[in-house]
């Protein structure tokens, strides 16, 4: 489709505005993280990196970071195992209630976090399970499974069945086929799924609020610190840290799952 110069110019301007409004608030935080002043005002007169040092040496921040990392890694690990198994099962077999399982599985990401959080809290209370790292992990795993599942099943659906048949035909046992064909075909989808799952877990607030009890994950600490309003520069520094920690895996995941030909069936057509 050909657009007139005017239309194209207008679209470009509009797109620039959208991106600006998305990015500008982030830039504000990043800038203030380097502001030496305690009170955030423009223009910034004195630049400093000391807030990062303050944040890094704050035991509360350290504890929260450590808890967030543990929860993220564990939730991702659980999501990987369960999400892959479900994806294989649903892709491979036709069984009664298959569509229902599929739908129920992606529900946590569609439901408002507050519903999932409240439901989990009530369930934990009812079962008499005290809040701990593990209740956080379970809460996060509910939506982390979805990303892994979605990534893996999308790849499986794009993978031609005849590749597996070809492998068996050439003499490979089912285990060899899994190791030499299935896993390499899925590897980037799995990595992308895991990175997204970790990123989701790492900055999750709502479900965590309901399942963390008295502990603070990093986002919970930030949330609390903002409300107290005493340590805003330090919060900014922490937020910049979170930003980097979540953006990096997401960017990498996006790169490996788009700019590659592995998932496509290279066999078909010309």
């Amino acid at each position: 489709m050909r657009l007139s110069r005017f239309t194209r110019g207008g679209l470009a301007l509009f797109a620039t505005f959208v991106v600006f409004f998305l990015i500008a608030p982030l830039l504000v935080i990043v800038l203030f993280a380097f502001d030496a002043s305690n009170v955030q005002t423009f223009p910034i007169h004195h630049w400093t990196t000391s807030w990062f040092s303050v944040a890094w040496h704050d035991p509360a921040v350290r504890g929260a970071l450590w808890l967030s990392l543990k929860a993220g890694v564990l939730a991702t690990a659980i999501a990987l195992v369960l999400g892959m198994l479900v994806a294989f099962g649903i892709h491979r077999f036709r069984f009664f209630g298959r569509d229902t399982v599929s739908l129920l599985l992606v529900l946590p990401i569609a439901l408002p976090g507050i519903v999932t959080g409240l439901a989990l809290q009530s369930a934990f209370n009812l079962a008499g399970i005290p809040f701990s790292l593990y209740t956080i992990v379970i809460g996060h795993a509910t939506f982390c499974i979805v990303v892994v599942f979605n990534n893996v099943i999308a790849r499986l659906r794009r993978t031609s069945m005849s590749l597996l048949e070809a492998s068996a035909d050439l003499g490979a046992s089912p285990v060899q086929t899994f190791r030499l064909v299935t896993m390499p075909m899925l590897s980037t989808a799995i990595i992308a799924g895991a990175l997204l799952a970790f990123a989701l877990s790492f900055d999750e607030v709502i479900v965590t609020t309901f399942t963390a009890g008295a502990q603070n994950t990093l986002p919970l600490w930030i949330f609390g610190a903002i409300r107290l309003g005493q340590q805003l520069p330090e919060v900014n520094a922490v937020v910049v840290g979170v930003l980097v920690l979540t953006l990096a895996p997401i960017a990498y995941a996006a790169r490996i799952s788009s700019g590659e030909s592995v998932g496509k069936s290279a066999g078909s057509g010309t």
């Binding site: 492998s167 068996a168 035909d169 050439l170 390499p184 075909m185 290279a266 066999g267 078909s268």
Partner: protein
């Protein structure tokens, strides 16, 4: 020339390639393959021909081991392999979509079968090299499948199968995705390779010309059963049923004093005077003329209302088409010996042309 229709003639042990007995496969209520008996000799180029849904591909998949028959036995060189998984059979398949592993190079694809069977690396490299040479793909060894054209992928798929030195090579419409020119090239190539390595080829196609060109013998499938089996000339010249007559080439079904008979269009003479001596014929009117390059095809409506298709070779430049125009009155005639009688089956009226 062999007998009229060749029933499964018993083969001696040394000839025996594949033996199918009473093989049946159902998918739900649909019977895809119905009690098929089939003997394929070692070293034979055997084609399974039929329209889609006739059961030819299912039978190929049964031989490969991707499907398990509901009844019957499949044996390979006298060994029953009916219940064995694909990786325990001495057969390899060339898939319709080639099914090359996208994450491996051409060389790694070809080496795959040897690798999973733990053939020592040095031997492996030599055999991969030889297989790539056979399909003329040596220079592409380090490419990924995505970097190859359709014809090149086809060759790699072939090399990946034959490198394992299977007793039987199964080919599932391997040339279906290629354009006509490339397809004809690959037909010649496949025949050359088959002669060179001397193994059994079982070839599935719905292209009757391909089947006639390449096969030592072919089987025509219909509704999960073999309608006729025999060498190409026999199947073409002496179709057993109207279905075979209409599916393999174009044919006219005529009524002779002896019953119904098949008459191929190229055996019909069109004249504007009396027919050649010894010919029988009928009067009619040309209703359609189609110039096909090598030949011109005429559709003639006979005075009794029946329709006959005849072809003539275009021997002189432009002459044939002009000689008989639509609405020309013609005499259609043929040698009675060229009309091949059909077995009296309750087959539906075939469509000439």
């Amino acid at each position: 020339m062999s007998s009229l229709t060749s029933p499964a003639t018993p083969l001696t042990d040394s000839q025996q390639g594949i033996v199918l007995r009473g093989v049946t496969k159902r998918f739900g209520t649909h019977v895809a393959v119905r009690e098929v008996d089939l003997d394929i000799a070692r070293g034979e180029f055997f084609t399974m021909l039929g329209p889609s849904g006739s059961g030819k591909t299912t039978l190929l998949r049964l031989i490969a081991g991707f499907e398990v028959p509901d009844a019957g036995t499949i044996s390979l060189r006298g060994v029953d392999v009916t219940g064995k998984p694909p990786y325990q059979r001495g057969v390899n398949t060339v898939f319709q979509d080639y099914a090359l592993f996208p994450h491996f190079t051409v060389a790694e694809n070809v080496a795959y079968g040897l690798r999973v069977r733990r053939v020592p690396r040095i031997q492996r490299n030599d055999r991969v090299q030889a297989a790539l040479e056979m399909v003329r793909m040596t220079e592409f060894a380090q490419r990924k499948p995505a970097q190859l054209s359709g014809g090149q992928r086809q060759r790699v798929a072939l090399a990946r199968a034959i490198v394992n030195e299977p007793e039987v090579l199964l080919l599932d419409e391997p040339l279906g995705a290629l354009d006509l020119k490339l397809r004809q090239e690959m037909q010649v190539e496949l025949k050359r390779i088959q002669r060179q390595i001397g193994i059994t080829f079982i070839y599935v196609t719905h292209d009757q010309e391909e089947a006639l060109t390449m096969s030592d013998r072919l089987a025509v499938f219909r509704d999960g059963q073999i309608e006729q089996i025999g060498p190409p000339t026999e199947v073409y010249e002496r179709p057993a049923t109207e279905f075979v007559a209409s599916f393999v080439g174009t044919s006219n079904v005529i009524v002779t004093p002896a019953g119904r008979a098949v008459l191929r269009p190229e055996k019909i003479e069109l004249t504007q005077g009396p027919p050649s001596p010894g010919h029988v014929g009928a009067e009619g009117r040309v209703v359609d003329v189609a110039y096909l390059g090598m030949v011109t095809r005429f559709t003639v409506e006979l005075d009794d209302g029946r329709s006959i298709t005849a072809v003539r070779q275009n021997r002189s430049v432009g002459g044939e088409k002009d000689s008989l125009l639509p609405t020309s009155e013609v005499t259609v005639s043929w040698d009675l010996a060229d009309a091949f009688p059909l077995a009296t089956t309750s087959g539906a009226e075939s469509q000439p042309g």
